[in-house]
Every structure is written in structure tokens, then in C-alpha cells.
Amino acid sequence: MYDFLVLALLAGLAVAVVAGPLGSLVVWQRMAYFGDTLAHSALLGVALGLWLSVSSVATVTVICLLVAVLLTALENQNKLATDTVLGILSHTFLALGVVAITLVPGGRTDMEALLFGDILTVTASEVVAMWVTSAAVLLVLKNRWQPLLATIVHQDLACVEGVAIARYKVLLKLLLALIVAISMKIVGVLLITALLIIPAATARRFSTTPEQMALAASALAAASVCLGLGMSWFWDVPVGPAIVLSASVLFLLTTVRWSPRRNRRKTG
């Protein structure tokens, strides 16, 4: 009888395990706004799914990948600052998505679920799709971690050392698009970047290598998913915001706990 809870937990964990390494990469590369833009464009994918009467997981993935490619192309050309361009596109996509969904004939859609997530209605097949995507992204990250990281640390150095940096910059954006697509159901388009960034920022405090930070961020994201589901169960609050709030609380707790860095040994 608690099937929906188990499915919700499995779905949340599928996202949490990749949110660690990918969220860390987003933080290091300062791609938060880029992630927001991708996330907002996911609404267009939902509209497209409704219009074609196909699964929104597929259409959201396609739209996110397209937008990632589009943004990469724009990045190299525009004369405006990147954050201005992303700011324009991000909110344009959000508005466009909402309008498009409303215009789909016969589409009766719960807008709140799209914006803030609806993890409790996740189906078994969606959970499978999430885990397949998540595992694929993890595998790519594991195999390409070193060149990806080298590109982020110093592009020119990496390039001289033989890393195909242009390829890895695109790869990172495509992986992010995939995760946005599967996270949408969990926390909704408005909170996806939070789930990527907050656990990574928390993990930074007790990590001395990039790998530690990525793993710790995954653990923290998983803990946030569990706490969020618990909060929702006991207090009947929406799960997506509860997950993000849990992540924020963990962040605040570690700020208080770890901020006097020099006294770490004494207090520990």
C-alpha cells in the first residue's frame, strides 16, 4: 500500500546520485543560471508531450538537449554578457512554456506539479527511465571525469595537454540537460538547480578533493530526498519544496557547525 512512497523514494534517489557530481561541476563552472534556463525550457517539452500525446519524459529530454545545443551556439556569438542572455532566455522559456501548456487543446494540467514537482505520482516505468538515464550519466561522468575536470580547472592547460576541450564543454551541457529532464518530476522546473547546487555547496565545506565533494554531495542530496519525503509524510507539505528545504537546512547546519574552521579539531 506504500508503493507510491517506495517509487517516490527510488525516483528521488535516481536523481540524487547524479546530482552530486553534476551539481559540483555546475558549481565549479558557475553554470547555475545555465541550469535554470535549461530547467525552464523543460516546460516546453511538457507542452510538446501533451500536444503529441506522448510521454513527457521523452519530449522534455529532447527539448532540453536542443536548448543545450542552442545555448552553446549562442554563447560563442552574442555581444551581450552571458548572464544577460541566459536571463532573457530563461524567463522567456518559462513564460512560453506556461502559455504553450495552456494553449494545448484539452490539456488539463496541474501547473503547480510542473513548477514544483510531483514525485508522489511517479510511475514504475518513469522510475525505470530515470534510473537508466541516471546510470548512463554516471557512467559517462566516471569515464570522462579527468578530462572534464581538467577542462574546468584550466582550459588552455588542458588543451595543450591534449584534452579536446570543446567536446567536453558540450558534453557537460548535454549531461546537464539529461538530468534536468529526469529531475523535473521530482522537484519541478523552478527548483531543479537548487537540488544540484545546494548539496554541492554543503559538501564543499568538508572536502579537500573534487571527488570527495562529488560523493559527499550525492550523499547529501540523497539525505535531502529522504528528509523531504519524511516532512511531506508527516506534515502534508509538497514534496519538491520539502526536499529543497531539507537541502537548505543541511547547508545551514553545516555552516554553523563548520564555519570556525580553525577550531574544527577542538569541536570535533
Binding site: V27, W28, R30, Q146, L149, A150, I152, V153, H154, D156, L157, A158, C159, V160, E161, A200, A201, R204, S207, T208, T209, P210, Q212, M213
Partner: protein, 257 residues
């Protein structure tokens, strides 16, 4: 244009050769008709005023930028170790010196040896962000060395290092050349220190103003026009050395000419 083959270069002991290379950004010509060749074992220093195109030329040599015209030939044996002008690592990225070196060499004992060679053996586990300017440059040099290069490309290697540290760093670079038998191509602002330790100076101001031995270049009218007559060869030396923590070190290295 009849460009020489890379193999031909290798036989002549040349690592890389530029012929009539030009580069523009929008309508702004940054490099015009640059020709130069870097032979093994030579230290070549690139000097020039701000905006002379020094960093652009370095990036063309490194292959980070493509030239608009002209020919660039690389020896098949060319293996470049690059030390960039500066390193900015996000504070959000936890990165120790040892982990940073692993991008060039996974074997940590080799990384340790490279740090020892550049004079910072104790910094292996320190966060990269906590290093001083001089220590950062030495770490970057260690990463370049781990590539086992036959050409070291250094873009302003002493940036952010105090004057005594600069001299120590130049001495280290000169002794590495002798030890590794690699060529060095470097950019510098500091004419005094560099000119004493270099085989050839190229004075750049979009085009090559003059080039040759430091002695020749320093009396060249084109050089004097760019840098004035006050710029003489630097011959003053300290009678002692400072280490990284500014303690006076007893011995003066023999490479201290």
C-alpha cells in the same frame, strides 16, 4: 608557400617554426608577418610593450589559436610543457597541489619529485588556493615538467612574485634547461632579469622589431625606441638568496652568473 616538413625540422634540431604568421581580431591586427624558429636547448625570450601581441603569439605557438595566414610547422617530436600567465581556481573547487598535478601525471611519486625539483616539496597536500604567487608559479612549472617537455612555454613566469623570488625563479628555469635539455620560449616584462639568462631576445610590437642576442638587441635602435635608453643589461646581484619564506639561504647557486 613551400613550407618545410616537420621531419625536416626535426633533422635540423628545430622544434617549431613560424613563417610569416599573421593574426587579426576583428579589424585589429595583433600579429603581422611573424617569423621565428625555436631550436632545441635554446632559451628565447619574447619582450614587448603591453598590447604588443605577446600572449597571442604564445597561444599561436601552443596551438590554442590558429593563425589567419602564414605557416606553422611543428617537429613530430615536439612535446610542450606550458605554464600559463596566471591560475584562477574557483574557491568552490577543492583542489590540492597533488591533485592538480595529477592532471599531467597520475603517478603521485613523480608528482612529489616534480614539486621537490621546483622547490616546494612540502606543499603536496595544500589547497591550491592557499599558495602564494611564487608557490603557484612553481606548482605550474612542476605540472609543465611532468609532461617531460622538449619545449617549455612560459607566459610571464614571474608574475606576482617579489623581486628576489623572481631572480630565484629565473635561475631555476635556467638550470632546468640544462638539466632537461629542453628549449624555453618565454614572455617577460622584466628586461633586466631575463636578458642575462637568455640566448635570444625577440622584441615584439605586433611585428618583430628586432631580435638577436641580448647584447645586440639592447643597443638596437628599435629596442631603444620602445623601451628607452634607461634599460641596460641587469648586472647587479645579491650576495645572498631568499627562500620562499624570505629566510636568507646560505649558499649562492653556481648557476648564478
Amino acid at each position: 608557400m613551400s613550407a618545410v616538413s616537420g621531419r625536416q625540422l626535426m633533422d635540423d634540431g628545430v622544434l617549431i617554426k613560424l613563417d610569416d604568421v599573421s593574426k587579426q581580431f576583428a579589424d585589429n591586427t595583433v600579429l603581422s608577418n611573424i617569423s621565428l624558429s625555436i631550436s632545441s636547448n635554446r632559451i628565447i625570450t619574447l619582450i614587448g610593450p603591453n598590447g604588443a601581441g605577446k600572449t597571442t603569439l604564445v597561444k599561436v605557438v601552443l596551438g590554442l589559436l590558429t593563425a589567419d595566414s602564414g605557416a606553422i610547422t611543428r617537429s613530430p617530436t615536439l612535446r610542450i610543457g606550458y605554464m600559463p600567465q596566471k591560475l584562477i581556481i574557483e574557491p568552490t573547487l577543492p583542489m590540492t597541489v597533488g591533485r592538480f598535478l595529477q592532471f599531467a601525471e597520475p603517478d603521485s611519486s613523480l608528482c612529489r619529485a616534480a614539486l621537490a625539483r621546483t622547490g616546494i616539496p612540502r606543499l603536496l597536500d595544500y589547497p591550491v588556493q592557499s599558495l602564494s604567487g611564487g608557490e603557484t608559479q612553481r606548482m605550474l612549472l612542476a605540472r609543465a615538467l611532468l609532461r617531460r617537455p622538449n619545449l617549455l612555454v612560459l607566459d610571464e613566469p614571474v608574475q606576482g612574485v617579489d623581486i628576489n623570488g623572481q631572480e630565484a625563479l629565473y635561475n631555476l628555469i635556467a638550470s632546468l634547461r640544462n638539466e632537461l635539455g629542453c628549449a624555453i620560449f618565454m614572455v617577460s616584462h622584466n628586461l633586466h632579469l631575463v636578458m642575462a639568462a637568455t640566448d635570444e631576445v625577440i622584441c615584439l610590437n605586433q611585428h618583430v622589431c628586432c631580435s638577436g642576442s641580448p647584447q645586440q638587441v639592447s643597443i638596437d635602435p628599435a629596442f631603444v625606441e620602445l623601451f628607452g635608453t634607461r634599460t641596460a643589461l641587469y648586472t647587479h646581484h645579491h650576495d645572498h638568496e631568499h627562500d620562499l619564506s624570505c629566510n636568507v639561504v646560505e649558499e649562492v647557486p653556481s648557476s648564478h652568473v
